[in-house]
Amino acid sequence: MPRIVSAKKPKNLGYTVRRLLSYMGRHKYSLLAVAVLVVVSVACNLLGTYMISPLINSLVAGGGMSSLIKAVSITALIYVTGVLAALGYSQIMARSSQKVVFDIREDLFSHMQTLPLRYFDSHQHGDVMSYYTNDVDTISDALNNSFSAVVKNGFQIIGTMTMLLVLNWRLSVIVAFSYAAMFLYVRYSARKSKEYYRKQQRSLGVLDGYIQEMVAGQKVIKVFNHEEENLKGFSERNSELQEMGTAAQAYASTMIPAVVSISFFTYTVVSLCGGFMVLGGWTTLGAIASYLVFVRQAAAPINQFTQQSNFLLSSLAGAERIFELIDMKSEIDEGSVTLASAGSGWVWQDGDKRIPLRGDVRFHDVSFSYEKDHPVLRNLSLYAKPGQKIAFVGSTGAGKTTITNLINRFYDVDSGEILYDGIDVRRIKKDDLRRSLGMVLQDTHLFTDTIRENIRYGRLDASDEDVEEAARIANADSFIRRLPQGYDTMAVADGANLSSGQRQLLAIARAAAANPPVLILDEATSNIDTRTEDLIEKGMDRLMEGRTVFVIAHRLSTVRNANAIMVLENGEIVERGDHEELMAQKGRYYKLYSGMFELT
């Protein structure tokens, strides 16, 4: 199967920021409240500090104890307001930031569910996991800490700048230049480190994938004594990550010291110039002294501002990756025909037309390839009438699994068409199409839940009795009852506590619970021992009654009573017919069959 390399879009910081802001926009009022409260809190802080000078002035002017008490009371009132505002905005922010990441995660996961299978074939699980484990995490951290800090410090910077301009506009030109220098440097190092942050996130994803794969493959690793080599592979990826991380952080960490140093330079220049202005009689010593206090204070919010932008940066790299995924094309679903229940059966609803669901499947001249110039199916035509059992036989890689992947539209045909009850499958809504098909896949996947719930996965509204009945059909009932907690036994870690035969029995039970008109059985019986298989066959026969069934199996026993057997080779049907006909043809099927018999 192909590995699809998704085209990298131009990295657009502005776009990412706007997109992230739109998420926050969903909690407009909370954010507005945060902004207002932050402003109140900053204003109270400045106002409270400002109160010191009228207090001192009045004391110097000879005001007594009463004016002191009055001033202190007013200040206390201002401060209490400030504390309450701070309490308010920090609490609101703590809540709405969680809501924002909740929304992002929700969108991310929902969108992931709509991506085509090709995406999952071509991306390592670890890579995808990394969206949740790393990227969302950094966004959440940034929102928790950085958003209110940025508003607060932004407001403080503006406030201080205004004060400075009012106090001495000439000197403020110098300060303005210094601010500009700070911002320029911050932007430069931000751009630099962002580049590395992105590389760092990517290496982290790669490493994630490596660990996942190696943990899953522990048994193989041990069997081959491959620990040393793997450690080497791990170290390579680890060093790569270390290198990128160090580079990103080295750039990012220069921000604060650089800003601090620039502020020292400004301080120096302003002191000197201010000194000369005093000498030249432009201003007074006292005025310069207070001006310098403000200049010194001005560095702090800028410092904070840069520090927080540090966090924001790494989160933006993460946000960018997330939005790239959310923007990825969903599985195409242009179908309009839906499935509706009608009395005891189901019908296709095609506009006003109602076509009873019978399970008639036809392939017309179907060609398909996973990779260009590498056809898997060539001009394949076949039909399955309602209630017929169609079996596919052929060597591995002949295209058997692919045929079933086309019926349920895991993939779409390159040319030709597949008709389901006379309707092109591409015209049927995907969900409804798949709901009408029962699948027993090659690999059984169990979810962390009880055995009962895992069977119920086939039909969510199945009652406990239905579940047990389905298990009985698949002959899974007896082994389930022998489990420590019976149907309530938990399946853990993809069913590692069950044998592969047992897992397959569960997959069959799941399909039985779904009770679909068309069944697709993909090499399902190959891993079950013959005694169990014998039981399954009986159950299967019961299950297959009245349904159209596609079987891909190695056991010619399951194939023998099929209405039609298709022998596939290199994506083409080389023989077709029922068992007797094919045996009489003495072709490939006959050779397969008798070839095996020869062994006895």
């Binding site: 400030g82 943990v215 193989v220 080599e229 020292f264 000197l272 000194g275 890689g397």
Partner: protein, 576 residues
């Protein structure tokens, strides 16, 4: 805290970088404190006495100090980044090597996704603690102590305000941090839960799509997501309490100073200038306390991560080697002596129950048995993928637990039932068996495994990219590649655990015949099909973990009901 301490031992060569980084912050802080003093000189002395030369001199000194501060700051950035990421990489590597020594029970105890977060995001948290915590942790105490010192020397009476409020602030911040710390562990566990749901979804994506269960998956995810949101909200809303609390204390401090300072000014015992100077020191001291509390929050968060990392590092692997292990395997005989096994000590029933069996050097053994009869488990005891619960397994007459693992596993080649290929090319995967294998050897192994045919039809041949978990080849092709990979090891004991189940019958026959040509190798076949094992020297029938019958095909046809039953059911189906 101990976890953190022991993780710091992983600094290794980066210890130097972190010490240098601390020193550089210290230097920077000193400049920060010196520069205002120089400024005061410039204004108070220079400007007041109209001495331009002195002004320029002081200005020059300030500029020089600023340059030095810049360089020490830039150097700090380099060293701190190197230390943080070097440290993280070393811990990760230690975790990974530890992981490799784990027995399966150990891995099961953690779950895959949790192991991954313990190696990635937990370490990121630790690195962030250094990246963001190092500066304040050095600066804050210096600023705090100097501030207190200066304020006391200015006015000891006013400074008493500190004595009351600083401990109060410290205590309050401590209480908040104490409450938040355990919440972070809960939070991390919730994160793990969410990751599990995502991972499971990824793995089972075909099932999800086939059953149109996207909505249900979203619902499931929505639940864990909501619980993560709630836990996150609870944790963070507690953690952010420290800001208003700090402000309250700071403002209280300012108010008290205003009041007492004001009264002192009224009494004439305090100068106005002194009060404003004093206030700036108060800010400095309280600010540094706040900085410290932020660092503590960062640390508590990283404590939860440190603990999780330590759990990985500290876990005693259930699989141990003897001190002086045997490093040669005398012969390829295998003996089970009264072996019993269960996966966990508290399981009620044995999976393998009292099996005794001797397999001669060079013998070919077939094992049959129903689902869950213990076939796979039995053979995995041979190369110590699991250790027996009772009895012993001997290879070449020596207990397998006495061998070094490398020796034992080199001698035993096993094609697992749930087999895996890894990302990379076919060639890379085959070289797992023998990294020095020549082109010829590779093709010979592929010939035996019946894989050379389809590989030759691939345009890139041995260099075909397999994709993750070998998704680019079919199940049967995967099994054949796995067989070839094992053959390349040239093991003395070869075990096939139902490893041709997805291979078509003609190819399987070819493989079986080719394998029969291998001489001097003990071969064990676990199979579902009688045809696979019929020609074996002996066939073993397992039933419910016990040895039910053993003998040649003909003997078993005569003596074993189970065997006859299997035989007739397979004959009927024509699958033999």
């Amino acid at each position: 805290m101990n976890d953190l301490k022991r993780l710091f031992t992983y600094l290794g060569p980066y210890r130097r970088d972190i010490i240098l980084a601390c020193l550089l912050v210290l230097i920077e802080t000193c400049f920060e404190l010196i520069i205002p003093a120089m400024m005061a000189d410039l204004i108070d002395t220079g400007v007041a006495s109209r001495d331009v030369g002195y002004m320029l001199l002081k200005g020059g000194e300030m500029a020089f100090a600023a340059v030095l501060a810049l360089f020490s700051g830039l150097a700090y950035a380099r060293f701190a980044a190197r230390a943080a990421y070097g440290w993280g990489a070393r811990i990760r590597e230690a975790e990974y090597s530890k992981l490799q020594s784990y027995a399966f029970s150990d891995i099961d105890a953690f779950e895959t996704s949790s192991l991954v977060t313990r190696m990635t995001s937990d370490i990121t948290v630790m690195q962030n603690a250094i990246n963001n915590g190092l500066r304040p942790v050095v600066r804050a105490p210096v600023m705090c102590l100097l501030g207190i010192f200066f304020s006391f020397s200015m006015n000891a009476q006013l400074a008493l305000v500190f004595i009351i409020l600083t401990p109060l602030l410290g205590f309050g911040l401590f209480v908040i941090v104490r409450r938040v710390a355990p919440m972070y562990s809960v939070l991390q566990r919730t994160v793990d839960g969410l990751n599990n749901v995502v991972e499971e979804n990824l793995r089972a994506i075909r099932t999800v799509k086939a059953f149109v269960r996207g909505e249900r998956e979203k619902y499931k995810f929505g639940n864990v997501n909501a619980s993560l949101r709630d836990t996150g909200t609870k944790t963070n809303s507690t953690a952010v309490l420290n800001l208003p609390f700090f402000q309250a204390v700071m403002y209280a401090c300012v108010l008290m100073l205003m009041f007492f300072g004001g009264s002192m000014i009224l009494q004439g015992t305090l100068m106005v200038g002194e009060l404003t100077g004093f206030l700036s020191y108060v800010m400095q001291v309280l600010n540094s306390m706040m900085m410290l509390s932020n660092v503590f929050l960062l640390l508590t968060r990283s404590l939860a991560s440190a603990e999780r990392i330590s759990e990985v590092l500290d876990r005693e692997s259930a699989l141990r080697e003897k001190d002086n292990p045997v490093t040669t395997v005398k012969d390829a005989s295998v003996e089970f002596r009264n072996v019993s096994f269960k996966y966990s000590p508290d399981a009620s029933e044995n999976v393998i129950d009292g099996i005794s069996l001797y397999i001669k050097d060079g013998e070919t053994i077939g094992i049959l048995g129903g689902t869950g009869s213990g076939k796979s488990t039995l053979v995995q005891l041979i190369d110590r993928l699991y250790d027996v619960s009772e009895g012993e397994v001997l290879v070449g007459g020596v207990d397998v637990r006495d061998y070094s693992l490398v020796t034992l596993r080199d001698a035993v080649g096993m094609v697992l039932q749930k087999n895996l290929l890894f990302s990379g090319t076919v060639r890379e995967n085959l070289l797992w068996g023998n990294k020095d294998a020549s082109e010829d050897e590779l093709w010979r192994a592929l010939d035996i495994a019946g894989a050379s045919g389809f590989l030759r039809s691939f345009p890139k041949g041995l260099d075909t990219d397999l994709g993750q978990g070998g998704v680019n080849v079919s199940g049967g092709q995967k099994q054949r590649l796995c067989i070839a990979r094992t053959l390349l090891k040239h093991p003395r004991i070869l075990i096939f655990d139902d490893s041709t189940s997805a291979v078509d019958t003609a190819t399987e026959k070819h493989i079986r015949e080719a394998l029969a040509q291998l001489r001097g190798v003990t071969k064990i076949f676990i199979a579902q099909r009688i045809s696979t094992v019929m020609s074996a020297d002996r066939i073993i029938i397992l039933d419910d973990g016990r040895l039910s019958a053993a003998g040649t095909h003909d003997e078993l046809m005569r003596t074993s009901d189970i065997y006859r039953e299997i035989y007739s059911s397979q004959m009927k189906g024509g699958t033999l």
